[in-house]
Structures are given as structure tokens and as C-alpha cells.
């Protein structure tokens, strides 16, 4: 049975394109964005409407995008380019400006190519390649300051400290609510599965943030009021998803994992939990925001795995231990060079901790579904035999 609040969130997402049109008619400015370190709080504080862009799962858009951007870019980037070229997605069509950061260089390239072909007003936010270096914070502060000036030009006003404080508080609350939603999932007390939690997270890409937070509170309240599920399925395999993003609409891998009795108990995805983790804006200023974004779990394209201080690896390891996941499925969307490059190093490091990792390379076409099914099933066979030697075949 669908939770009442989940249905409300779905209804709100359905209605949002119409609301956006109405807001535009009233003179509101829409800022679409793609990236990991775009400080949404600043966009919100200026009275602009932030919308995170991009969808996955549609091979047709990938093909369309490939007419404009090289096929060596990942399927998500090509699909996004297809969306820009087609210009029927209500959020892309409605965006008065689009912001990109270069945490992922392919996202940056999408910004350049879409600007060239689609003539959208485009803003770029530079991201240092090594967030742990001493000069990184200085550089990023400067970038965020510059980015804010561009946004202020767009809004026709300056950021007011009170507005900024309010926006920061709202976003902190949203992130905390998402963390709580994931907490229910990882302790096995969530009536929602990972895919539904993802749907809720993705709803936040589009909805008015105040309304979104209110719906999140309603959802959490409903979950807390439900009786605790205490009988886990003993045949299920507990998995953490890692790797490239799984964008809204891309359900191939999660459906397949579920179909073969896998239970995704958490993720460390750019499109999932990670943006809500390790974000502490102690100082409610532009610089405070810049510092907090720089200190969040680094985007997977950034940290170098041969360093001992790889925060993302430590976070993934901690998540496996906390959730009692049996293994990690590392999803690489073709052709995400960063994800591919890091996999072997990550796999070897996790192996030392006794955590098995399966690599899945895929895109949005359905041609590899059976091949992926075989890989996932075989991985689950390994995990089941590892944990229960008595059922070894």
C-alpha cells in the first residue's frame, strides 16, 4: 500500500511543471543546474527558483544527444544533451539560466556544448581537482563569490543575510530529513524501498523547497507512526549501490537487483544520499557555504584513491559496516572514465576489509539486461555462499 505522503509527493511532482509555468508568468526566474557543488541555497535566497536538471533511462535521448556531444561522454550526459536539444522537458524549457559545475568534466562539457547549440544563458562554477589541498578552499571561495555575483545580476538584487540564513536553514532541514529517510532504510524499518526513497530524493530536484520540506516531514511522521517491520527476508541480499549517478528515470539496475531478491539498503551516489551528508554550514555567509560544500564528501570524479585520506572510501566502508550490507555493487555508466578508473583500486581496498564488490558497466538501452542479471545473480551466489558455508553448492 502506498503511503499517503508518498502519493502526495508524487502528485506534487506531477503538478510542478504547471506551477513552474505559472511562476514564470508572474515574473519568477528559473535556474536549472547540473552538478554536485552548485550552492542551491544562494539561488534560493535570491528568490530564484532552483531546479536540478537531467534524467536517465531513455536511450532515445542518448542517441539524440550524441548528435551534439561526443559518444565518449557518459550516457547520462548524452541524454541531458538530448533533453537540451529536444527542449520538451518542462524544466529545461522553463529554465532562464542553467548552471554547471566542473566536479565532473563531462558535466562541464555538457554546459559548453549546450550553451553553444541551445543558446541558454549559462553559468559555470569552477571546482578544484583536489579538494584536500590548502589552495582548494581559497580557489573555491573565489569561484562561489563570482558565481553569486552572476546570480545577483540575474535576480537584479543582492543576497540579503536574513534571506540567506533562512535558505541555509531550510536546506539543512531537508538534508537532515533525507538522512533520516535513509536511516529507516538501512536499519530495515522503512516501508519504502530504495527506489521509492530515490523517488522522494529526486522530487526535491523540482519541488518548491518549503513545500518539499513540509512533505518530507509528513512522510517521516507517517513512517514513524507505522508498526516496525521486524521480519527481514532471510533470502534477500543486502547491497549498497556505489559508482556513477543513477538519475531519475533510470530504474534498470535497481529493478533488476530487486527482481533477483536484492535489497539496496543504502548508496553513496551523487544522485542519492551523498549530497545530504557531511554538510555543516556553520557560518551563514557566502564564504561559509563555499567552505561547507568544499568539505562535503567529494564527488567521485575528484578524490584520488591512492591517498590515505579518501573520505569517500571511508564513508563507503562505514556505510557497509553500519548497514550490515553483504556487498557493494559499483555502477559505472558508460563511458564514465572517472568511475572506471577508480573501480579496481576501490575493489582492492574493499577486499582487504572483506567487502566484495561487483562492477556493472551499463547504459540506458535494454540490450544488456540479461547479461547484467547473470552478473548480479552470480555475485549474490558468491555472497550467499560466503556468509552461509552450509548452503554451499
Amino acid at each position: 500500500m502506498t503511503l499517503v505522503a508518498l502519493q502526495k509527493i508524487r502528485d506534487a511532482v506531477q503538478q510542478r511543471p504547471g506551477e513552474i509555468e505559472e511562476e514564470k508568468r508572474k515574473g519568477k526566474i528559473i535556474v536549472g543546474w547540473v552538478g554536485y557543488l552548485i550552492p542551491e541555497e544562494i539561488i534560493h535566497a535570491l528568490g530564484l527558483i532552483p531546479v536540478r536538471l537531467g534524467r536517465g533511462g531513455d536511450e532515445r535521448l542518448v542517441e539524440l544527444g550524441a548528435r551534439y556531444i561526443s559518444s565518449q561522454n557518459c550516457a547520462f550526459i548524452r541524454a541531458c544533451m538530448g533533453m537540451f536539444a529536444e527542449n520538451t522537458d518542462p524544466y529545461i524549457r522553463g529554465a532562464d539560466a542553467v548552471a554547471f559545475d566542473n566536479a565532473c568534466m563531462q558535466v562541464y562539457r555538457l554546459g559548453e556544448v549546450s550553451k553553444y547549440y541551445c543558446k541558454k544563458k549559462t553559468l559555470f562554477l569552477g571546482v578544484p581537482r583536489d579538494p584536500a589541498s590548502p589552495s582548494a578552499q581559497k580557489y573555491f571561495r573565489h569561484e562561489v563569490e563570482h558565481f553569486t555575483q552572476k546570480l545577483e545580476d540575474l535576480a537584479g538584487k543582492k543576497v540579503e543575510p536574513e534571506e540567506l540564513t533562512g535558505s541555509i536553514g531550510l536546506y539543512q532541514n531537508i538534508r537532515a530529513a533525507i538522512c533520516e529517510l535513509y536511516h529507516f532504510l538501512d536499519i530495515g524499518e522503512s516501508p519504502l524501498n530504495w527506489k521509492e526513497v530515490g523517488e522522494v530524493v529526486h522530487a526535491g530536484y523540482y519541488l518548491d523547497k518549503t513545500n518539499y520540506f513540509s512533505l518530507l516531514q509528513e512522510l517521516l511522521s507517517e513512517i514513524r507512526s507505522l508498526p516496525v517491520i521486524t521480519a527481514p527476508n532471510s533470502n534477500e541480499v543486502r547491497i549498497i549501490l556505489s559508482g556513477s549517478l543513477i538519475a531519475p528515470g533510470d530504474v534498470k539496475l535497481s529493478d533488476l537487483i530487486e527482481h533477483v531478491n536484492g535489497n539496496i539498503v543504502s548508496d553513496d551516489l551523487w544522485s542519492g544520499l551523498n549530497p545530504s551528508l557531511n554538510m555543516h554550514i556553520d557560518n551563514p555567509t557566502i564564504m561559509g557555504i563555499a567552505d561547507a560544500y568544499m568539505n562535503r564528501i567529494p564527488h567521485y570524479t575528484l578524490p584520488c584513491l591512492d591517498k590515505d585520506n579518501d573520505i569517500r572510501f571511508e564513508h563507503l566502508k562505514a556505510a557497509v559496516l553500519k548497514t550490515k550490507a553483504q556487498g557493494v555493487i559499483y555502477h559505472t555508466i558508460r563511458y564514465c572514465d572517472s568511475a572506471t578508473l577508480k573501480t579496481t583500486g576501490l575493489k582492492n581496498r574493499l577486499r582487504k576489509e572483506g567487502i566484495p564488490l561487483l562492477e556493472i558497466h551499463t547504459e540506458y538501452s535494454g540490450s544488456d539486461v540479461e547479461a547484467i542479471r547473470t552478473r548480479v545473480e552470480a555475485f549474490f551466489e558468491i555472497l550467499k555462499f560466503k556468509d552461509n558455508p552450509e548452503v554451499r553448492v
Binding site: T344, S367, E370, T374, A378, E381, I382, V393
Partner: protein, 257 residues
């Protein structure tokens, strides 16, 4: 039952002893092919018309085997089959009709890691079929022809379609077919060694699947790995089905006790 993309294999086992086997081409209906292969294997086991006590289906067509008691992936089945033939095996290179996999296993015959080729026919039986058609020779002639080569002509394309074009160009240039075929085998072997970077290789290495019947491919793999490669003393094409039968035999024994 191992219902592969090109062939369907069946092994009948009783108390650990192999009673019968069969290999037939997989038709367009995997369920029908499975039934036919099972019938043939039962006939060869002199158990005509009987129903096995426990059936495990594996291979890409395993989901189309309603008569099976259970399905297990070909990864696990190959490991079980190989281990039952040679407990020293730690790495399996399986080259089938439409995929190629490298499987790592522990001293108990359990899979510890594996890798499969991605969306590409290079390194598979299908690739060799295409090459055989270019030379207008039987598939089983490719191995002996490769062994007769005086030198190897490098093939740079790993894409099946482009490799076919490259081979045609090399023939037009006047290269000897045997030398080109050896180059083809070496290109496949190089691709397989590339796959193993992610899972590692440990002795003993067993070569299974239909392509393992090709002596030229075995030689090319040994050259590429700088290690001996073992061909099982049992039809290498049936290793997956043998593994499935071993698992079924175990399951049945557990059920009985």
C-alpha cells in the same frame, strides 16, 4: 542443463557418476531446446522417458526452463564443473558462443570473483565463426590452421565487424591465411588477458567452453599468459552442464537426507 546462446548441453548424473550427456544447437525457442537436449541425454544414459530427480538449469536460457527445480548462474556452474574435474583449478577461462568469462575460485571450488566481457563478440565463439566464414573453412579448422602459421600477422581491431574487414584487407594484401588466423587467435588471447587485470590469475588455469576445443586458441592463451593452460579431460563445452548436474546431485542428496 546449460542452455547457451549457440548450444544447449545436458549432463545426467547419478551418485556422482556421469550416465549420459548431450549437445545440440540452441534453436530460437530455448525451452524447446532444453527439453530436446534433456531427452537426448536421458536416452544416452539409458533412462529414456524418465524425469530427473533434480534439475538445475544454467546458461542464458535458464529462465526459460520451467522443468528445472532451480536455476544457478553459469559462473557458479562452471566453477563446480571444473573443480569436480580438477581440484587444483583456481582460474577458469570460459569462451562460449556469445560471451567470455574469467572465473576465480578458492580451494573449495567456490567462486571468489569473476569478470565477463561487455557487449562485444570479440573473444567469443561467435567471433571465430565470423572469421571462419571469411576464410570459408569449418570452425574446427581454425585451430589447426593457426598452428601451421609461420608467423603471426597482428590484428588491431577487436570489434568483430572491423576485424572481419581487416582480415579481408590482409587477404587482399597477400598475407597467408594461416598467419592471419594465428593473429586472430592472438588478438583474442590479448583481449582475455586484458580482462584478467581486474580479477587476477592464479594457477592452475582451466580453459572451458566450446572455444576450448580449438588447440590454436589454447596455444595463444598460453603465450599471452606465459603459463600452461589446462584443457579438461572431459568435453570442455559441457563443463557448465556438468557443474549444474553436480549441484543438482548435491541438492538431491540433501533433500533425501
Amino acid at each position: 542443463m546449460d542452455i547457451g546462446s549457440l548450444t544447449t548441453k545436458s549432463v545426467i548424473l547419478s551418485d556422482g557418476a556421469i550416465l549420459g550427456t548431450s549437445i545440440i544447437p540452441t534453436g530460437i525457442y530455448p525451452e524447446k531446446s532444453g527439453n530436446e537436449a534433456l531427452g537426448k541425454a536421458l536416452k544416452s544414459a539409458k533412462q529414456d522417458g524418465k524425469k530427473p530427480a533434480y534439475t538445475i538449469a544454467t546458461g542464458y536460457g535458464r529462465i526459460s526452463a520451467p522443468y528445472a527445480d532451480e536455476t544457478v548462474t553459469e559462473i557458479t556452474c562452471h566453477a563446480k564443473g571444473a573443480y569436480s574435474l580438477n581440484p587444483d583449478v583456481r582460474t577458469i577461462i570460459d569462451m562460449g558462443g556469445q560471451d567470455c568469462k574469467v572465473i576465480r575460485m578458492d580451494e573449495s571450488g567456490n567462486v571468489t570473483d569473476f569478470i565477463m566481457n561487455d557487449k562485444c563478440a570479440a573473444g567469443t565463439g561467435r567471433f571465430l565463426e565470423v572469421i571462419a566464414s571469411v576464410f570459408k573453412v569449418r570452425l574446427d579448422s581454425l585451430g589447426p590452421m593457426a598452428l601451421q602459421a609461420e608467423v603471426s600477422v597482428p590484428i588491431s581491431s577487436t570489434c568483430t565487424v572491423f576485424a572481419e574487414s581487416e582480415v579481408i584487407s590482409l587477404l587482399a594484401r597477400g598475407e597467408k591465411p594461416e598467419n592471419i588466423i594465428r593473429g586472430v587467435h592472438q588478438a583474442i588471447a590479448q583481449r582475455v588477458t586484458g580482462m584478467t587485470v581486474r580479477v587476477g590469475v592464479e594457477d592452475a588455469i582451466l580453459f572451458s567452453g566450446g572455444v576450448a576445443k580449438n588447440e590454436g586458441m589454447k596455444n595463444a592463451l598460453e603465450e599471452a599468459f606465459h603459463k600452461p593452460v589446462v584443457i579438461p579431460g572431459f568435453d570442455p563445452q559441457i563443463i557448465g552442464a556438468l557443474g549444474a548436474a553436480r549441484i543438482a546431485d548435491n541438492r538431491h542428496s540433501q533433500d533425501v537426507t
